[in-house]
């Protein structure tokens, strides 16, 4: 019993300490980090959230955002919706209130969708989530930044057209969409279907039930179809299995284009030699950039890096996390420029910042990320900002850029689809879309 009291005292005083307001001289801006470092997707999650924390630490090491220090607190979600909601509720009001949420999980992001307007808190969903949230009139609090699933699918078709020598050359070609048999796997359908009809290529959709270790039947089908390209809209262990199966039936990996969730070291390394030449989409360019060098020099060389092993430094997932951090700090910076430089801003003001992000080549150059992400500009109506992606190739040890710069598909088409879907959502949920002409 004695021990119990001791423990209770420690716990109580610890929580009291947590609840006490931070009494630092420096103004602070708080960001909750809902990470998953254990559970089924820990391999990607650990690197990604380390990347985010690394960038926030780098920003602090350089004096914060115009002198405003970033504080953050981590909470383990295990990629589980229930735990994610709990973390959100626990952290959102700490330290003067959260600025922005990024969960890295579709399930959690959807569960928070209804809570955001009540809490007046913006959420970014980078590379996942609702593609129609790009329509900021219906989704004022959600930001599927850089590129959505639909933009990705359009960019894939664009890349294939570029390789074939023009969109009209795709006519009559055969493209297989080998997809993870889940809602995620079907995200590309509206866009691919539209292109297939418009251009006139033969689209064969082949499902792979999760987890997708066994793919012999599907690859037999692919061998018979002799496709010009295979889109691999996969997830998890299915990706490496697909590369190995392709090698077995002799399908060239150079003709396989993975989605970005099938395009990190976690997917290619287990496939070994079979992955060589494999292509995948990405919204962060591979390679070395000044901002990465900066993180290495400022944090990792001094033993302050957040990754548990340096081997994962600069991996696709790690860089994705860094980019999330870049966009967070840039949104806060933009908000400060409107509402007061050097002062903490509210979450509502951060949302304004996300709607007025201007990351042109000049600004990207200043933060050492020129070429790391496509130049982007958001607005009240456009919460995506870019819509471009890059094709990268696995050379056996590293990813290297394959496409010439950034590739974007038919932006008008993607936008039209997003607006249609968003309008449907607004009708279902009785939401009156904002009038962006009246917003400042």
């Amino acid at each position: 019993m004695k021990h119990f009291y001791k423990l209770a005292t420690v716990l109580l005083s610890a929580s009291a300490l947590l609840a006490a307001p931070a009494c630092a001289d420096q103004p602070e801006q708080y960001i909750p980090v809902l990470s998953y470092r254990v559970g089924p997707f820990a391999a990607n999650g650990a690197s990604m959230f380390s990347g985010l924390i690394d960038y926030l630490n780098l920003t602090n090491a350089k004096g914060g955002i115009n002198g405003v220090r970033i504080t953050f607190e981590e909470c383990e979600t295990e990629y589980n919706t229930s735990r994610g909601v709990e973390c959100y509720e626990r952290l959102k009001d700490r330290q003067g209130g959260a600025s922005v949420i990024e969960t890295g999980s579709t399930g959690i992001a959807y569960a928070l969708l209804d809570r955001l307007p009540q809490d007046k808190l913006p959420m970014t969903t980078m590379g996942y989530g609702r593609a129609d949230a790009a329509d900021g009139r219906v989704f004022p609090w959600v930001f599927p930044l850089i590129s959505t699933y639909w933009s990705q699918a359009a960019a894939m078709v664009e890349y294939m057209a570029q390789q074939s020598g023009g969109m009209d050359r795709l006519k009559g070609k055969t493209i297989v969409d080998l997809y993870h048999d889940s809602a995620y796997g079907k995200e590309s359908f509206p866009v691919l279907d539209h292109y297939a009809k418009e251009i006139g290529f033969n689209l064969i959709k082949i499902a792979i039930p999760a987890p997708g270790i066994e793919q012999q039947a599907q690859w037999l089908q692919i061998r018979q179809a002799k496709p010009d390209y295979v889109i691999l809209w996969g997830f998890g262990v299915m990706n490496a299995a697909a590369m190995k199966a392709a090698a077995r039936v002799g399908y060239p990996r150079e003709k396989m284009i993975g989605s970005w969730w099938a395009g990190s070291e976690v997917d290619t390394v287990p496939a070994g030699d079979a992955a060589k030449g494999y292509l995948s989409m990405t919204f962060t360019a591979p390679g070395s950039f000044p901002v990465l060098e900066d993180i290495k020099g400022t944090l990792y060389d001094r033993g302050k890096g957040n990754l548990s092993g340096d081997a994962k430094f600069g991996s696709v997932s790690h860089v994705r996390g860094i980019v999330i951090g870049i966009l967070m700090t840039e949104a806060i910076r933009a908000a400060q420029q409107k509402y007061g430089i050097g002062r903490p801003v509210t979450a509502e003001q951060v949302r304004w910042g996300y709607e007025h992000l201007v990351l042109d080549e000049k600004r990207l150059g200043e933060i050492g990320a020129l070429g790391l992400i496509p130049p982007m500009k958001t607005s009240c109506a456009d919460h995506e900002g870019s819509g471009a992606a890059m094709v990268q190739e696995w050379d056996g040890t590293n990813f290297i850029p394959k496409s010439k710069g950034w590739v974007a598909g038919d932006r008008a088409l993607v936008r039209k689809l997003a607006e249609q879907s968003a309008a449907q959502y607004a009708a279902d949920k009785n939401i009156t879309p904002r009038d962006c002409g009246k917003e400042d």
């Binding site: 420690v10 716990l11 005083s13 610890a14 929580s15 300490l17 947590l18 470092r37 254990v38 820990a42 650990a46 959230f49 380390s50 924390i53 607190e73 981590e74 909470c75 383990e76 295990e78 919706t81 229930s82 735990r83 909601v85 709990e86 959100y88 509720e89 626990r90 009001d93 579709t106 399930g107 959807y110 569960a111 969708l113 209804d114 809570r115 989530g129 609702r130 593609a131 129609d132 048999d181 889940s182 809602a183 995620y184 079907k186 995200e187 509206p190 039930p209 957040n306 990754l307 548990s308 879907s421 959502y425 279902d428 949920k429």
Partner: protein, 358 residues
């Protein structure tokens, strides 16, 4: 000294038939309900209500549902999450497609859909039992989740398969804030718990228990195993279905097939194993253990980090929490294989004679 049973005489059938026979227990129960329904909504923070108590109550209901089937009727099942999914999806589709349907009715019908499917998938239990039946309920789990993500109609053709649910107002009681959601969940869970406790004392509950204890003997004394087993599946699936609808409408406000995975089924099974098979209280204790302990560990460790100023390498605390959680489960199962409810039972027996030892 305080917990005394002596001097309590039951002098009428009404008194003898009471749900909670002992006076002290009745007082404690009423006090708990008063605290839960009046004090907690008044003083608890939104965090406590929406992120701790609501999921705790909902999972307790799901655990109770599985406990009816596994703990009381002796049929092991891995399909609880699937039945939750049916309840959630059926309620969603009813509210979407049937004009002006009252939401309470939609939840009830959602539970009944789960019930119907439960009976269907309960049919194998007539021929197989034990681990073999458990394996066949796995089929339920996989088939339902596969079917819900495969057939677009169920998700109303949502692109990502995750649907945001409608805003509902059962009996004019809008579920739009933490307090109203909590109170609604509390009322539903309390009602169903009282119904379940009564069921266990009734003809049907006793037939379940006799099937559990020895099905051949039960058949000999005139219990129809077909009827007993299938009603157990039906009632259990109904409870899980309602829990699923509550989970979607009062907690996460989304419905997604992947949210009701095998993982969740296992979690619910662990709840009743740790809480106590064949105990209604055990369902609640088990849910508290599985839902609240990881959260508490997480809070504790982040507080410790803050307190000590030491920063553990990233990811270490997350893993340590899991290790401790697993360790505690093993310790409890070694100390009391019959679950935490049995521990409470023993404590109660000790309390009744305290401070004497015999």
């Amino acid at each position: 000294m305080f917990y005394r049973l002596s001097g309590q005489f039951r002098t009428s059938y009404y008194e003898d038939n009471r749900l909670i026979g002992e006076k002290l227990e009745r007082t404690v129960f009423i006090a708990t309900m008063l605290v839960a329904s009046i004090a907690i909504p008044l003083v608890a923070s939104p965090y406590l209500l929406s992120a701790v108590l609501i999921p705790f109550l909902i999972f307790s209901l799901a655990a109770l549902g599985l406990n009816i089937l596994t703990g009381f009727a002796g049929q092991v099942s891995f399909g609880s999450a699937a039945f939750m999914a049916i309840g959630a999806f059926a309620s969603f589709n009813l509210l979407l497609r049937v004009p002006a349907i009252p939401s309470l009715l939609a939840f009830l019908l959602g539970g009944m859909c789960a019930s119907a499917i439960g009976v269907l998938f309960g049919l194998p239990s007539l021929r197989i039992r034990g681990f073999y039946l458990a394996a066949s309920t796995l089929a339920t789990q996989f088939f339902i989740v596969w079917c819900l993500s495969k057939v677009g109609w169920f998700t109303n053709y949502a692109a990502s398969g995750v649907i945001t649910v409608q805003h509902v107002a059962p009996l004019g009681f809008a579920l739009d804030n933490h307090v109203s959601k909590y109170l609604f969940v509390l009322v539903v869970v309390t009602t169903l718990t009282v119904v379940a406790s009564n069921l266990m004392r009734s003809n049907i509950g006793r037939s379940w228990m006799s099937i559990r204890d020895m099905d051949v003997a039960a058949e000999v004394i005139g219990i129809n195993p077909l009827y007993a087993k299938l009603t157990a599946f039906a009632v259990s699936a109904f409870y899980c279905g309602i829990a699923g609808a509550l989970y979607s409408y009062a907690y996460v406000s989304t419905v997604e097939p992947d949210g009701f995975s095998l993982d969740l089924s296992f979690k619910i099974l662990f709840m009743i194993i740790i809480g106590g098979l064949g105990s209604i209280l055990g369902s609640f204790i088990g849910a508290a253990f599985i839902v609240l302990l990881p959260i508490w560990l997480n809070v504790f460790f982040s507080a410790m980090e803050h307190f000590s100023g030491l920063k553990a390498p990233s990811g270490i605390t997350s893993n340590v929490e899991l290790i401790i959680f697993g360790g505690i489960i093993i310790v409890f199962l070694v100390v009391e294989p019959h679950g935490l409810a049995r521990l409470w039972q023993r404590a109660k027996e000790k309390l009744q004679i305290w401070p004497l030892s015999h």
